[in-house]
């Protein structure tokens, strides 16, 4: 059964179309990766699913019910982990989770039990009486998650839950996502870290300019761009390169520069490596190393959108 159905949804802010006639389904039990650059329409879509924004047209259903006609039902079944940490610094850890869970209608011992479980789940059960202001970024992120799961939602939307935290906390959160999924929760996961999405998501949608431009499993997405190969060329630091010249080389689909590392995505059927190297030699660029790589999700994204996920 589909836990989420988005059908021909459009959202405009004045003349700007943030989400353009989008249709999407998420099945129960999935970890659904939602990828897009900033301003692609990701957050607007998430806000519409969680009932914070109303679509101009189209319909959104949670467990088969329209989210506006059955607003309370929909909201009770959704848990939001917002990108920004949304907790009260003047409430203790326990009070924060209790307050938000209480808004979902939980009372008395049931409320206490579920709050305890949520804190246990995120590894903050020993921090009941602590105030979040004394927490590290990772701990705050975990509390942010606890506030979203204490009412046991069926669909959890996680918007960049690992931004700005240490690797240890990131691993903890990623494992938590997997564990929640094993417990029966459906997860919609957005991240700028492609490797995270690649690691945990069973299905992925790529959104660009308010439209879903690709959707499927990792393998299905990679299959879209199997005709692409990546070449990584390490050059001498501080060298200046005219990327337009490289892009003009036959078969080149995209060129991206990260410090002194240049990534050239080309059509596999075209043998253009010599031309690329020649181009660099002509420009008197010193090549340090060269490596060819098979496509990954990052390549898929770059190929489809023409931009890196972390480009702003």
């Amino acid at each position: 059964m589909n836990i989420l159905e988005i059908k021909n949804v459009t959202k405009k802010f004045g003349d700007f179309i943030a989400v353009d006639n989008m249709s999407l389904t998420v099945a129960e039990g999935e970890i659904f990766g939602f990828l897009g650059t900033n301003g692609a329409g990701k957050s607007t879509t998430i806000n519409m699913i969680s009932g914070l924004l109303r679509a101009n047209s189209g319909e959104i259903k949670i467990l088969g019910k329209d989210i506006h006609k059955h607003s309370r039902f929909a909201k009770k079944n959704i848990g939001i982990v917002p990108q920004d940490i949304a907790i009260y610094e003047d409430l203790t850890t326990y009070e924060n989770v209790k307050f938000f869970a209480g808004l979902y209608g939980l009372r008395g011992t049931q409320l206490h039990k579920q709050v305890e479980e949520a804190l246990e789940f995120v590894g903050l059960s020993d921090k009941h009486k602590s105030y979040p202001k004394s927490f590290s970024g990772g701990m705050k992120r975990r509390l942010n998650i606890a506030c979203a799961i204490a009412h046991r939602p069926k669909l959890i939307i996680m918007d960049e839950p690992t931004v700005g935290i240490d690797p240890q906390s990131r691993n903890y959160i990623l494992n938590s996502v997997k564990k929640l999924n094993e417990m029966g929760c459906t997860i919609i996961y957005t991240s700028h870290y492609m490797e995270e999405v690649e690691e945990i998501c069973s299905r992925i949608a790529i959104i660009d300019h308010g439209k879903i431009i690709a959707e499927g499993t990792k393998e299905q997405l990679k299959a879209i761009i199997t005709n692409t190969k990546d070449v990584w060329i390490e050059i001498k630091p501080m060298e200046t390169i005219d990327l337009n010249k490289i892009e003009a080389v036959s078969g080149v689909k995209a060129v991206q520069m990260e410090e002194n590392l240049m990534k050239v995505s080309s059509d596999v059927s075209v043998n253009n490596l010599n031309d690329i190297i020649q181009c660099l030699i002509n420009d008197k660029v010193e090549i340090r190393s060269l490596k060819e790589q098979s496509p990954n999700l990052e390549t898929v994204f770059l190929t489809l959108t023409g931009r890196s996920l972390r480009d702003h």
Partner: protein, 373 residues
Amino acid sequence: MNIIRIAFKEIKSDFRDSRTLVFMLAFPIVLMLILGTALSNTFNTSTSVGEIHVLYKDQTSGEFSGYVRQFMKEAKKSALHFKRISGQLDAKKEVQQGYYDGYMTITNEQIQLYVNDTNSIKGSIIQGMTAAFADQYNIATAVAKVKPEQVQLLMNNKVQNDYIKETSLHSKRQPGAMDYYAIAMTTMIALYGALPASYLIRGERTRKTADRLLAAPVHKFEIFIGKIFGNMVVNFLCVAIVITFSKFVFKAYWGHHLALVYLVVFTEVLFAISLGLGISYISRTEGAARTILMVVIQLASFLGGAYFKIEATGPMEKFITNLSPLTWVNTALTKIIYLNDVSAGSFAMLLNVGLAALFLLIAGTAFTRQEGL
């Protein structure tokens, strides 16, 4: 239930915020103490006159001489001391140089009084008492012509000993400095409640908790009402603590209608919160809202006599001071406390509630129209 939950969270957060406690409790109490003590003389309506010394030359004889002695004896009870002049003393010069407050020559036909104008209060007292005695004697003389047997009764038994009678146009009790500033600081701090109120809903957006609240199965208006309700409880409790503290520690007088005083202040708290919310929705940024409110509150405090008493006499002055919410609230409270005028609160309460409704309408309309909080 969600309204209560949100209100309770608001109360808990506010009372944990040391800035709230300092601003809403310590600030008015300290100001009350400083202004009430420093400006105590400005509010002191009584003047200490001290003892009055009068030189006299008694040239009376017969029955009248006895009445004069009796008058002097009675006057001594009011700290008016008569001293018979000795032969070589220049009485007028003594008065002129301030050694004595008056000089009186008494004959059977008339009393002549010489006082020093530089101390008009003492002079007036001597003059008043002497005039009262003379009037009494004149009455006795008139009575003697008709019923001589009643004269003795009039002069001996009905000796006038209430020469000075206090009469006030207003109430018997007038506010002292501490009484005045207890009211002024309480109502001023209630108005300052507009500042945190301007951050009430905006704060959820700044804190990023707005989306989480709205994602919960809670109606927008439950959040709106819950937050206002919580803030009202906090502000009213703070104001009530300030009133209680001033009453029992500073011994400020709050009259016999304390419940009505609380009710008037409660409507002011409602007005202040609504003002803060209304302004926060009218202005674009948090900074703009705060600036507008600070200007409004400072002007209202100044015109409402929060820092020093303003006596508006002209119609324009009265009009301007009446624009301050503190003027109408302070006037109402003063009348309730010092004149026992329980109806005086109605106008202030009506204005507070009416304006609160207006600002809440502005905030509520903007709140409904926009997506999110």
